[in-house]
Amino acid sequence: MKTYIAQRLAIAVLTLLGMSLVIFTLLRLAPGDIVDILFSTAGYVSPSEKQAIMQELGMDRPYWVQYLEWLKQIVTGDLGKSYRYDLPAWQIIRPLLPVTIELAALSMVVAVLLGVPTGVISAVRQDSTLDYVLRVISLAGLSMPAFWLGMVIILTLVTWLQWIPPLTYVPPTEDFKLHAVQFALPALAVGYRSSALIMRITRSSLLEVLREDYIRTAWAKGQSGRIVVWRHALKNAMLPVVTVIGIEFAFLIGGLVVTETVFNLPGVARFLVQAILWRDYPIVQNLVMFIAIVVILSNLLVDMLYGVLDPRVRYGS
């Protein structure tokens, strides 16, 4: 097990190295840079002044020097300085991380709490009216973009209650109730979409397992439906579900852009888009690396969970 984790972590480092190269290259291939944007806010461009700013920001150095400098910064824990804000990148990135992680985690909790039970009910009551109703609800969830649902929630609240969630981040230590409300609404909007996917995977996976011989044996032994479904069938049906949950979580970390924007939550995803628009390389590079790390770690966690759910899965030799 330890060897397996060590191997995976070694591969993760190589993956991150490759990612860093891709991020760095793609950013430089995009048209324009921070200096163009700065001049854009001033409405003119002066080549000599542009050169001076490039020099000030260290952007006039060869690309490979800039790349190695960035790698060095990552290793030493100094993430450089934001071009846009003229402040250490870590100082800007740090407050964003808990917001996005909390929103993604809460969304996944909502998704699992909604998706798994409804998937089980749908599978057990296959082709019943309830099954059809749940499938329609899940299809609606898949078809409905989270940002659209978010906007509908906000407009409904404004129209009926003349109220909208807080416009700035409320830390739980300051006002836990308000904090919970602030996160519950976007988590519902995002979680509903993800729950639809989880529900469908749970249903199809469970249907497959319910037709296995060992389930028939359990029924023949006279075990109750609850034991058969929840203890014997569901545990085996969970492997693809866990995979989907892992993928969804990783996707959410970077994919919350519009939800964070609609609910005005100061998270990684919303900030990343602004940083890309400003070509704020130090912020973009480090935020994308953060997302890559989350994706790798969540994949690793999912692989670990396989062993817990199915003892036949062995790691390494």
Binding site: P31, G32, D33, D36, I37, L38, F39, S40, T41, A42, G43, Y44, V45, S46, E49, A52, I53, E56, R84, Y85, D86, L87, I92, P95, M151, I154, L155, L157, V158, T159, Q162, W163, I164, L167, T168, Y169, T261, V262, F263, N264, P266, R270, F271, Q274, L277, W278, R279
Partner: protein
């Protein structure tokens, strides 16, 4: 010797100052209702401040609007008066001012006892530091990273601060408009004892509000400056600007009462109607954003080096239809300065109708086709060009309308959208044929507009139009002391620019500034860039 001479001049000036000082100079604005102190005003921002509070390094309302409460100018347009003109300029850091030597010297008598937010005293050194930096004087100790309004101070020969509370601006030639440019929100005085770069991350000003916190991408919070030099001001205890990137969320927050005030230039006619329908008691004030839609044509390159082609383009575009189709009536037609009553200097309806493109649409199209025929093109044998515009909806909508109009006279334009990061670089280089553009102007003043957008060497003269005759007229109006004669000259310049199709103006956008009725004394001016100081604003709750 020069120092003694300066001193003598200053003494002489001081003796006549009281008599000569502009009557409005020493007044604080008149308030029509009895204001109540206290409360925090919640204000909308559509994007974060960039670059911070460094107003001198930018030309965007996104910085000026939230940055203004921190600073003071020498002079400012009266926040309580809608119209901006020389008559509505009031003193801020300058208690009084006086024009000397037939408008060649502008002397400011500064307030005493003014403190920077960090407790340091404000003196004439700060004024000299700021304006020497802006005009890039050879001996200036500081330099801005980007200096978009350097041209505003091209006529300033020297700035003298021989006494701690007197500053003299010596001009190369008379320029009454300088005072109006100094009254813009774009002209705060920086502190000499802090590096200009520090304004990108914080703010040390002398303004009515002190910066409490700027949480990046989230909000900017100010608290009342207890040492503010105007006694009894500001009325508010604080200001909070919320960064809300999504337009729907911004409007929902205003509707729900989480925000008290909209963002200048943000609310279209349609949006204001929707808000008013949802909350009838909201106060909506239409005003000119001092932003024009216009067509830039590269005069240095064929086919737009030919005035006939440029004029054909101008004749072809039905301005009034554009106002209805693109702005749903939320704009007005005008030439190169905002028309009355929205602006002070613009041509009236009668004069506008006589200009190319402003007559009856059918007649104008016929004139355009005739001109195109003269250069060998027709709808059957069209001239093919590439029209560039910024990849932002407000630009693209306008460009699409224009393309359709041009097609009718034999110009087939394909639309090329340019990313914001590339737009100004491309326009300044002249790396285009024809483009659909928006131009915002700080103060509603001919000098600020003509030198910036039509000056031969100005980097913002995107069409690269350069006329010796026009520049002489621009200089003449700038130096003209008789307001009537100056207005006549400004009218003549506007007609000439449209006749040359230098940069055909299509319309002037209106903003529908929206706030809750409890917000008092927040009065939009004829330019979005000049009314954000907030010292007179109070909340009636």
């Amino acid at each position: 010797m020069p120092r003694l001479r300066s001193l003598a001049v200053l003494i002489a000036i001081a003796l006549v100052a009281v008599a000569l000082a502009t009557p409005a100079a020493s007044q604080t604005p008149q308030v029509s209702q009895t204001p109540k102190p206290g409360g925090v005003l919640n204000i909308m921002l559509r994007e974060d401040l960039s670059p911070g509070f460094a107003i001198h390094e930018t030309a965007t309302i996104s910085t000026v609007w939230p940055g203004m409460p921190c600073f003071s100018n020498l002079v400012l347009f009266d926040p309580l008066k809608k119209t901006e003109s020389a008559d509505t300029v009031i003193g801020e850091l300058a208690e009084k001012w006086s024009w000397q030597d037939n408008y060649r010297n502008l002397v400011f008598f500064l307030r005493k006892g003014v403190k920077w937010h960090d407790g340091q005293p404000f003196t004439a050194k700060d004024v000299k530091f700021t304006f020497d930096m802006l005009r890039e004087a050879p001996d200036t100790p500081a330099k801005l990273r980007i200096n978009p309004r350097k041209d505003w101070y091209a006529n300033v020969e020297a700035i003298e601060a021989a006494e701690p509370h007197t500053v003299v601006f010596r001009l190369k030639k008379p320029q009454p408009s300088l005072l109006l440019m100094l009254a813009s929100g774009y002209t705060p005085v920086y502190a000499a004892h802090v590096p200009p770069a520090s304004y990108r991350t914080g703010c040390i000003g002398t303004g009515p509000f002190k910066l409490k916190e700027w949480r990046k991408g989230e909000y900017v919070e100010y608290v009342k400056n207890p040492d503010y030099f105007l006694k009894g001001r500001p009325y508010l205890d604080g200001l909070k600007y919320f960064v809300i990137v999504e337009r729907g969320t911004r409007n929902a927050a205003l509707q729900a009462g989480k925000l008290d005030v909209s963002f200048p230039g943000e609310i279209s006619k349609t949006a204001s109607e929707q808000l008013k329908k949802a909350v009838p008691k909201l106060v909506v004030t239409p005003f000119s954003a001092n932003v024009s839609d216009n067509i830039i044509m590269n005069i240095k390159k064929p086919p737009f080096d030919n005035v006939k082609v440029r004029l054909a383009v101008s004749h072809a575009i039905d301005r009034r239809a554009l106002v209805q189709a693109v702005h749903q009536g939320g704009a007005v037609v005008g030439a190169s300065l905002a028309p009355k009553p929205w602006g002070f200097w613009g041509l009236g309806e009668k004069e506008i109708t006589a200009l190319p493109g402003y007559g009856k649409p059918a007649d104008e199209k016929a004139k355009a086709k005739k001109l195109m025929a003269e250069v060998g093109f027709s709808p059957e044998k069209p001239l093919r060009v590439e029209m560039v515009t910024r990849a932002i909806a407000v630009y693209v909508d306008m460009a699409s309308f224009v393309i359709n109009e041009l097609k009718q006279i034999g110009i087939e334009a394909t639309l090329k959208q340019i990313e914001t990061a590339q737009w100004h670089a491309m326009a300044t280089r002249g790396d285009y044929q024809i483009g659909a553009n928006l131009t915002g102007i700080g103060p509603d003043d001919p000098d600020a507009n003509f030198y910036e957008n039509y000056g031969c060497r100005s980097p913002r003269n995107y069409s690269q139009y350069c006329s010796e005759q026009v520049m002489k007229m621009v200089d003449a109006q700038s130096q003209e002391l008789d307001p009537k004669k100056r207005l006549a000259l400004v009218y003549a310049i506007q007609k000439k620019l449209e006749d040359d199709a230098a940069r055909p103006i299509l319309d002037w956008r209106l903003d529908y500034f929206t706030h809750w009725p409890h917000v008092k004394n927040l009065i939009p001016h004829q330019s979005i860039y000049n009314f954000g100081r907030m010292q007179e604003v109070w909340i009636d709750k």
